[in-house]
């Protein structure tokens, strides 16, 4: 029955962690999974950000609302991801939406706090002069507050992104887990080369996202590079 064994690459037979043949044979699967992982991460964090900003804005005006927002997101954050996805399942089914909503909710928790802290770190006299010149609340937000809060907001985005990269794998329970799908299958049949590859790609993705965000931040905040 194992007569075919000599056709099988040695590192498959030995079940090695590092197996060049695997990377070659499974390139399409790895690429697909990575691409899925990336877009799930990006969409989730963006969605979280889009909710976090208005929530942060409402919260900073109103301490009661702040307590509610912060408390609510805290509760969401303590729900294990598996449970959260299961809760969403009846509504959104076996779709990427389930995963995205879940992940967006988690990143929201992180982001909303940094959005609030970031907006609070904007110097009072700069806001006052903008208001005095006739900036509307909207313009002030977009052109003054968000840019100046950017370093702090970006710190949140970076934590949220890294955390989302790690959490996307859980999406495999509804078949949208990016590299998590490969990981889960591989753990199931002890396919070490695949476990290794998927894990490494996860880490690489997280680090790449993080460095990319640092770069974006440097590009977006040129004024923070102080000349001496």
């Amino acid at each position: 029955m194992l007569a075919l064994v000599d056709d099988v690459p040695q590192c498959y037979v030995d079940n090695d962690w590092i197996c060049a043949q695997y990377w070659h044979d499974y390139r399409p699967e790895l690429v697909d999974a990575t691409v899925e992982h990336i877009w799930l991460t990006v969409v989730s964090v963006l969605a979280g950000l889009l909710i976090a900003i208005p929530l942060g804005l409402l919260a900073r005006r109103n301490p009661t609302l702040e307590t509610a927002v912060v408390g609510g997101t805290t509760i969401v954050y303590t729900i294990p991801s598996l449970a959260l996805f299961s809760l969403l399942l009846p509504f959104t089914g076996l779709t990427s939406t389930t995963v995205i909503i879940g992940l967006a909710l988690y990143s929201l928790t992180i982001l909303v706090r940094n959005v609030i802290a970031g907006l609070r770190s904007v110097p009072e006299e700069v806001k006052e002069s903008a208001r005095g010149i006739g900036y509307s609340d909207r313009r002030m937000l977009l052109q003054i507050e968000i840019p100046l809060a950017l370093p702090v907001i970006m710190a949140g985005i970076r934590v949220a992104t890294v955390s989302t990269v790690a959490l996307v794998t859980v999406g495999s329970i509804v078949s949208y887990g990016g590299l998590g799908n490969l990981l889960l299958l591989a753990v199931g049949n002890q396919f070490k080369a695949q476990i290794f590859a998927a894990s490494v790609l996860c880490v690489v993705l997280a680090v790449a996202f993080d460095l990319a965000l640092v770069l974006v931040q440097r590009l977006l905040t040129p004024w923070t590079r102080r000349a001496r």
Binding site: M1, L2, L4, V5, D7, V8, P9, Y12, V13, Y22, D25, Y26, E29, S86, L89, P90, G93, L94, S172, I173, V174, S175, N181, L184, L185, G188, N189, Q190, F191, A193
Partner: protein, 294 residues
């Protein structure tokens, strides 16, 4: 125009596109292979197919009911027990048994209530099974669990923690076969650890599945469940009722497939995927070609 397309496109031999189908399944090797087989069969029949592998049955079953998943390769008793406890509560008496026909009869009304149709099961079955080392079996001339139990020696059992008391596990082994189990060492089902533990003699009996193709190579051997404590886990297509009503021609296709599939095929394909690291799609393709189903 049909013939033109037939000759024109080599691989997608289907005639006109018959619409899209979603195949569900779980994300362990065998389910993955079966899903791949279903996919190929369906594509061959002219459907556009999407496969969604999820972690657990309770994730895909509501979707199968709703019709966002159309067809799932499932296990007879597993599905029966699931639907039974859903319909009648967790503590309802089991309606699955060692007998596939009886189990199927019990399953059908439960499934129909959920809008799920069960196509005739295959003979191929993946049920839990217990194994010992081949040396031990040869020395003591064991082929069945009854043979082992008859030795009346206290044993350690390697099985998942929830084994205790279950009628298809420790409970059945003690009550039905009369084993004297000293200890259940918690080891994952069909895991490398449980096989290792049996080989090293840390436990005398380990739990795995009938389609575990790795045993022979490791010098391990299954003992027959001669008293039938394991419910019948025959592979059977579970289909959304509306979907099968709309596509009655599929019944034949799947009946052909189920008729051709054997437990050995499954074990063999599992080995190809789990040990030789072939891709499930390729293994499925090869299988279908070998059986002349494509």
């Amino acid at each position: 125009s049909d013939s033109l397309e037939d000759t024109g496109s080599g691989d997608s031999t289907g005639s006109a596109d018959k619409g899209s189908v979603t195949v569900g399944g779980q994300d362990f090797t065998e389910s993955q292979i079966m899903a791949a087989i279903y996919q190929k069969v369906l594509e061959n029949a002219g459907y556009t197919v999407q496969t969604k592998l999820v972690t657990t049955r309770d994730v895909y079953l509501p979707e199968l009911s709703k019709g966002s998943v159309d067809i799932v390769p499932d296990y007879l008793a597993g599905l029966t027990d699931f639907l039974n406890s859903e319909a009648n509560g967790a503590d309802a008496p089991l309606v699955s048994s060692h007998d596939p026909d009886a189990t199927l009869q019990a399953l059908k009304p439960l499934a129909e209530a959920k809008g799920i149709s069960i196509l005739p099961p295959s003979d191929a079955t993946d049920q839990n099974a217990f194994f010992v080392t081949k040396d031990f079996a040869d020395q003591n001339d064991l082929t069945t669990l009854s043979d082992f139990a008859a030795m009346h020696q206290p044993i350690k059992l390697g099985a998942p923690p929830d084994c205790e008391g279950r009628s298809d596990c420790a409970g059945g082994l003690t009550k039905t076969y009369g084993f004297d189990i000293k200890e259940i060492v918690p080891l994952d089902f069909a895991s490398a650890q449980v096989k290792d533990a049996v080989k090293k003699g840390e436990v005398q009996l380990g739990e795995t599945g009938t389609t575990d193709g790795t045993l022979e190579d490791l010098g391990l051997v299954l003992l027959d469940d001669d008293k039938g404590i394991q419910p019948a886990q025959n592979l059977t297509p579970a289909v959304n009722s509306d979907f099968i009503d709309a596509n009655p021609d599929l019944e034949d296709v799947f009946n052909q497939l189920s008729a051709a599939l054997t437990t050995e095929d499954l074990a063999d394909m599992n080995v190809q995927v789990d040990l030789e690291r072939k891709k499930p799609e390729d293994v499925a393709q090869q299988f279908l070609e070998d059986k002349g189903l494509l």
